[in-house]
């Protein structure tokens, strides 16, 4: 009884130092989030509003998407629509090719990751440079992000030091984060200044004004769009919100939830192309419009991609981003993976204890744990249910369905206490991997009751009035 997630988690956990660091470091981010959230008296009201605004927008998305595009076009933006990843990548490449682009500087975008854009563009001969420090590190290492806000959270400073020695010629053995960040600053400044085009994701798209809003701490989205002649923005349909008043709700929630900051350093609003420049929006569906029709799971479209659910998830913190088979890990990733392809990503559904902490931190009230529970109910019909779990469940139903059998079983359960150790703690018994079995009691409660051994003490509380029905 194992899943790809549980097997990968086992490997991550085997490195005790690494998993302890990962767990504790992300917990610190959760604590920072808590401190900031507790300092805002209207926090819970904000979360509710955030959810309601998104629900409204999603259920009027045709109208808002059209309004957003119209406004943007009136502002001089070139608007493109992509049904899927392939169309998105082709549109982006088409724009770049028209400008004879050799080098593209990119700021962090999970949507382009979803579309595998970098691979596609590199195959077309374009030099794609990720400019978020964490993204640049993992791009150099040729590995995917392990967290959606802190993509290189699983990499140690010594590894970055060694990597930069090789790639950027930094001093041997120097892994001081300030030193390494300065080296990256110099290296990436050269990239910004020599790029032909810049690309960003989009945190919020404002229907009323046609603005797109990008939030970063490093300033890479801004550096990447202040020099090149072309700026391309990849926008997932679900990023659209009605107006700037709504944006006020989201900018208050996003950074507090994501990193425990009162705001990101830069909250940049792009409305019109600069003098002599081009601004392109690519509005991407890639399955999103279908999700709207999925009554059980459409609430995932409210997600702000803040990763608070990952930072609080006790399973994610101890198993790392790579233990999940979908490119977005953690509670939101489990759900988005299942929406993408239940056949392909069912292995992640085991990575949840149903502790519900994710529901409580989500700044858009996405009911992540409830949705994972729902997906589990679907596994059997998808042919993805673990056969042993199925047998266990059927067996339990049979046992619990027959009180007489149940009581007989309770009677004989203590025999397990006396079984030879090797029959109890073998490879088949996952419980026994790190735990001893509970000791079954001589007499169950039912047996005690029937024997009249569940007795009253004879004492009565004097202060309590007699209860009336």
């Amino acid at each position: 009884m194992s899943t790809k997630h549980s097997e990968a988690a086992k490997r991550f956990i085997a490195n005790k130092e690494q998993r302890t660091w990962h767990n504790e470091t992300l917990w610190l981010v959760r604590e920072k989030r808590d401190r900031l959230a507790m300092a805002v008296p209207e926090w819970e009201k904000l979360r509710e509003l955030s959810s309601e605004i998104k629900l409204h927008t999603i259920t009027h998305l045709d109208k808002y998407a059209e309004q957003f595009a119209q406004k943007a076009e009136a502002n001089g933006v070139v608007v493109h629509w992509a049904k899927d990843a392939k169309e998105h990548n082709e549109i982006v490449h088409g724009i770049l090719a028209a400008h004879n682009t050799k080098k593209l500087v990119k700021s962090k975008s999970m949507l382009t990751e979803e579309c595998h854009l970098n691979k596609y563009l590199i195959e077309q001969g374009i030099d794609v440079v990720e400019t978020d420090l964490g993204e640049r590190i993992i791009q150099f290492m040729n590995i995917p992000p392990s967290h959606i806000v802190m993509p290189a959270i699983h990499i140690k400073r010594q590894e970055v030091g060694k990597l930069f020695e090789e790639k950027l010629g930094t001093e041997t053995g120097n892994s001081d984060p300030t030193y390494l960040t300065r080296a990256a600053r110099k290296h990436l400044r050269d990239q910004f200044l020599s790029a032909d085009a810049g690309m960003t994701g989009c945190n919020f798209a404002i229907a009323e004004t046609g603005d797109i809003v990008v939030c970063t701490n490093e300033g890479n989205a801004d550096m990447g769009t202040s020099f090149p002649k072309v700026h391309i923005v990849s926008i997932g349909l679900e990023k659209i919100i009605p107006n700037l008043n709504a944006l006020g709700v989201y900018t208050r929630l996003l950074a507090r939830s994501a990193t425990g900051q009162p705001s990101t350093t830069y909250t940049s609003h792009f409305r019109k192309p600069g003098e002599g420049r081009e601004l392109h929006y690519v509005i991407v569906d890639n399955g999103r419009s279908d999700i709207i029709g999925n009554e059980e799971h459409f609430q995932t479209l409210k997600c702000l991609r803040c990763a608070a659910c990952m930072n609080t998830c006790p399973v994610y913190r101890r198993s790392g981003g790579y233990s999940y088979t979908y490119f977005i890990p953690g509670p939101i990733g489990i759900n988005l993976g299942m929406l993408k392809s239940p056949q392909q990503y069912a292995d992640n559904v085991s990575a949840c204890t149903l502790c519900y902490s994710c529901n409580n931190v989500c700044p858009a009230h996405v009911n992540l744990a409830d949705q994972i529970y729902r997906w589990r109910q679907d596994l059997d019909s998808l042919g993805k249910a673990d056969p042993m779990k199925k047998v266990m469940s059927k067996g339990l139903k049979f046992l619990f369905g027959l009180p007489a059998l149940y009581n007989t079983t309770l009677k004989f359960a203590p025999l397990v206490n006396h079984l030879p150790r090797f029959t109890v703690y073998n490879g088949l018994n996952a419980w026994g991997e790190g735990r001893e079995l509970p000791e079954f009691t001589g007499d169950s409660f039912t047996a005690l009751w029937k024997k009249g051994k569940v007795t009253k003490s004879g004492k009565k509380c004097s202060t309590l009035k007699k209860q009336k029905p």
């Binding site: 917990w27 805002v40 519900y356 902490s357 589990r376 009180p403 790190g434 169950s444 009751w449 209860q467």
Partner: protein, 246 residues
């Protein structure tokens, strides 16, 4: 007022003393009780594992057995939450309005919110660390969830503080999951045990002699680790502490 006593399966089999304490305690507060002996399990283990369908017949049986009481009380937050939250949906599919969902209470909830007890019978001169179980905190609202910006409270702590001689603590990361999670604990044994070890470290660091709480399932999982690793802490269901002296 007549209460139907629900003693969930693993308490029945492994921790009957928690059931006995529940009975004595409710009797002490003048509650009239029945124990329907044909009861078995609420069905949560199957449902959380992805086999909700296997729980439907159990829900029907539960309704039959407990529908007639004014209240149903169980010394288990998780099972109570399952009946409360999931039964209406399961039974709704069968065009059956759920009777028990609105009147089931975890023991602590019942003492705190319905009986509104202000004293406890005995003394328990020990340091205890409260295990705030996930379903107790985030489904039944037995205490304020650490993630939410709401007024801080804890019904279990309120009740325990009525016991003489007790010293009550809470671990660091007061309501982080212990890693039990029903079938999770055997499907993801490595993460499960790792979470349990971390949770125990925080409980032990409080200096408490006992871990106590409203969910025996979490405690069964942690107890398994304590036994395997021979860790210096004991377990006791909150009902047993509250029933001290009875």
């Amino acid at each position: 007022m007549k209460v139907g006593l629900f003693i969930p399966c693993y308490i029945n089999a492994v921790y009957p003393e928690a059931g006995v304490a529940t009975y004595k305690l409710l009797d002490y507060f003048g509650v009239e009780m029945d124990y329907p002996t044909a009861q078995t399990c609420c069905g949560q283990p199957m449902a959380n594992g992805g086999f909700e369908g296997e729980a439907v017949s159990l829900a029907n049986k539960f309704e039959e057995l407990f529908g007639k009481y004014d209240y149903v009380v169980a010394p288990s937050a998780s099972c109570t939450a399952f009946v409360k939250e999931v039964y209406p949906k399961l039974l709704n599919k069968e065009q059956h309005a759920c009777q028990t969902s609105g009147k089931i209470y975890d023991l602590c909830e019942f003492l705190h919110d319905i009986l509104k007890v202000k004293e406890m019978p005995g003394t328990f001169p020990h340091k205890v660390s409260i295990h705030n179980s996930c379903h107790g905190v985030r489904e039944l609202n037995l205490s304020s969830a650490s993630e939410l910006n709401i007024e801080r409270y804890s019904k279990i702590k309120d009740l325990l503080k009525l016991v003489k001689g007790i010293e009550v603590f809470e671990p660091h990361k007061a309501d982080e999951c212990c890693g039990f999670g029903g079938m999770f604990c055997v499907e993801e044994p490595d993460v499960s045990v790792c979470m349990g070890q971390d949770k125990l470290k925080n409980h032990i660091a409080t200096g408490a002699a006992y871990i106590t709480g409203a969910d025996s399932s979490c405690m069964m999982h942690m107890q398994g680790i304590v036994k395997r690793e021979k860790l210096p802490i004991k377990f006791i269901h909150v009902a047993q502490i509250l029933a001290s002296g009875l």
